[in-house]
């Protein structure tokens, strides 16, 4: 018998999540879409047909990160209750299957549903706002040369994938994996505690980055004016290297490491 991974057991775990949570999943999807509709409605200048620049990225990033981490936390809700944890841990399936079934919902089902909801909402409001502006032009026979049609957000998103899109996706996966660890580790208020730990880590890294900078580059402000430029040129390759390293880590390294930690925490879980 394969005690590590068996597709039948995995699909039974996926089915279990759906059977036990389908109503909530459907209601949450509707609520997420409803929030988007309200948010877009408030962010549109209805007289000019202009969508404020902040509306699309705020809804997209905010919902993806906050909604996504909430969802992941919910997927592991069993760990907030001793009886439910007991039930979950004793289901005859491997820890890997249990983690992967949660990953399927967190990393595939949630973003797929969210992207569908987001693009439907975005498509509707962008076209609606553009038609409002079009109507305004026709009615008043005015043509504003500086006017640019509202653009669907995925086009803006994909314009510079390396600068925005890829790091955003990388950061999202890291946030999800962090939330998985937190949900397994913490029994009560796991969402708040995990968020606190993540912010503490980010804050510490921000402080630590000064020391890292000092270590590699020295105290830039104390350098003589004349040597600053030269020093800057000297450190540029190091800076580029560190930047590349960070980029690779965000995209490919952190998430698997965090998932491995979540897996080990799940194996060690006691109730």
């Amino acid at each position: 018998m394969n005690n590590s991974f068996n597709y039948t057991r995995f699909s039974l775990l996926v089915k279990r999540q759906w059977v036990e949570n389908k109503k909530l999943f459907l209601m949450a999807s509707f609520a997420l879409w409803g929030l988007g509709v309200i948010y877009y409605s408030l962010g549109i200048n209805w007289e000019m047909g202009h969508i404020s620049d902040a509306v699309q990225p705020m809804y997209f990033i905010g919902s993806l990160f906050i909604g996504g981490t909430f969802f992941t936390n919910y997927i592991f809700k069993d760990f907030s209750d001793k009886n439910a944890s007991t039930n979950f841990l004793l289901i005859p399936a491997s820890h890997l299957e249990k983690l992967l079934s949660a990953c399927l919902y967190s990393f595939i089902v949630f973003p797929t549903v969210f992207l569908i909801l987001f693009f439907i909402t975005d498509y509707f409001f962008v076209n609606f706002a553009n038609s409002v502006h079009e109507g305004l032009v026709l009615k008043n026979n005015l043509r504003d040369e500086s006017w640019k049609d509202n653009e669907l957000w995925y086009r803006q998103l994909l314009e510079k994938p390396d600068i925005f899109f890829k790091p955003l996706i990388g950061a999202w996966f890291i946030a999800q994996a962090f939330m998985m660890i937190g949900s397994v580790m913490f029994i009560r208020w796991s969402f708040i505690k995990t968020a606190f730990v993540v912010f503490a880590i980010i804050f510490s890294l921000a402080l630590l980055s000064n020391y890292v900078f000092d270590f590699f580059i020295g105290e830039f402000d104390k350098l003589a004016e004349g040597s600053k430029r030269g020093t800057f040129l000297q450190v540029q390759p190091t800076k580029d290297f560190l930047k590349m390293l960070t980029g690779i880590a965000i995209k490919y390294v952190f998430t698997p490491i965090l998932l491995l930690i979540a897996f080990l925490k799940l194996k060690e879980k006691q109730v």
Partner: protein, 277 residues
């Protein structure tokens, strides 16, 4: 077979539960696990189920290390905790979701247990009382036909007819291959069912013996006055005088009274332990 060797377990340094516990549970028995509140009955069951890990020593269940919680181990063990979780679904949905994890699950058996407990598969867990939920889960637990069945206070919350139904059902599923361990405070609910008896107290096993052995070594009787004080291990007032437990020097036949046995063991732990060594 469940083998526990030199098992120690604690909830932090200030809360030791077991120290060097040794216990062997063999197939074909319905063990009764007795102990005061906080004696470690639930912790022992959780160690056997792999929900808690020993701080020292080993626990093996049919050569499996429960700590690993391997699927092949879990599909042969069912643990019904005292307080349990039921998802907000119909009983039928619960069975459709969880039963496929257990290769020996019998739907027919489950239906019979539900009938016995007067429950319907179409009822939702959220609409059932605590006792009804427990009955549905007991039915599910027995239908899994796992080799090891652990039950923590299964009769808590059951009404009087359900308790006798429970005894009847457990007696019907106790086979030579199965190990059933029932932890309970309600000894009177199960005294005809559990055998052997294990009494836990102060981080150790005070008694582990079959009821036959207990009846051979101890005598349970009612007397009007207590004489021979040195032979009396425990006495308590009863309607007709005193209920007493003595050493069975005269090899008399008496029915084991689990409540008296439990109190006698806790009153004279070292003496009882020595008698059954």
């Amino acid at each position: 077979m469940i083998q526990i060797k030199n098992l120690s377990f604690d909830y932090g340094k200030r809360k030791p539960v077991f120290r060097n516990l040794n216990l062997t549970l063999t197939d074909g028995n319905v063990y009764g696990l007795l102990g005061k509140n906080g004696a470690g009955k639930s912790s022992l069951l959780r160690n056997i189920a792999g929900l808690l890990f020993p701080t020292a020593g080993t626990c093996t269940v049919d050569n499996f290390n429960p700590q690993e919680r391997l699927p092949s181990f879990l599909q042969e063990l069912f643990f019904l905790p005292e307080e349990f979780h039921t998802p907000p679904v119909k009983i039928s949905e619960y069975v459709n979701t969880y039963a496929p994890f257990y290769p020996n699950f019998s739907r027919q058996q489950f239906k019979e247990y539900l009938n016995e407990f007067q429950l319907s598969e179409n009822e939702k867990f959220t609409e059932l009382s605590l006792g009804q939920k427990k009955k549905a889960l007991i039915g599910f637990a027995l239908s899994t036909n796992t080799k090891v069945l652990l039950m923590d206070e299964p009769t808590n919350g059951l009404d009087i007819p359900s308790k006798s139904q429970f005894r009847k059902i457990i007696a019907s599923v106790a086979t030579d291959e199965r190990i059933i361990v029932i932890s309970t405070h309600q000894v009177r609910d199960l005294d005809s069912l559990i055998d052997p008896i294990i009494i836990l107290d102060n981080s150790e096993v005070l008694l582990h013996a079959s009821t036959e052995k207990i009846a051979e070594k101890l005598c349970f009787k009612n007397v009007t006055t207590v004489t021979n004080h040195e032979q009396v291990l425990y006495s308590e007032h009863s309607l007709r005088g005193f209920a007493i437990v003595t050493e069975n020097i005269e090899e008399a036949d008496s029915k084991t009274d689990l409540e008296l046995l439990f109190n006698a063991t806790l009153t004279n732990p070292s003496k009882i332990k020595k008698m059954f060594e």
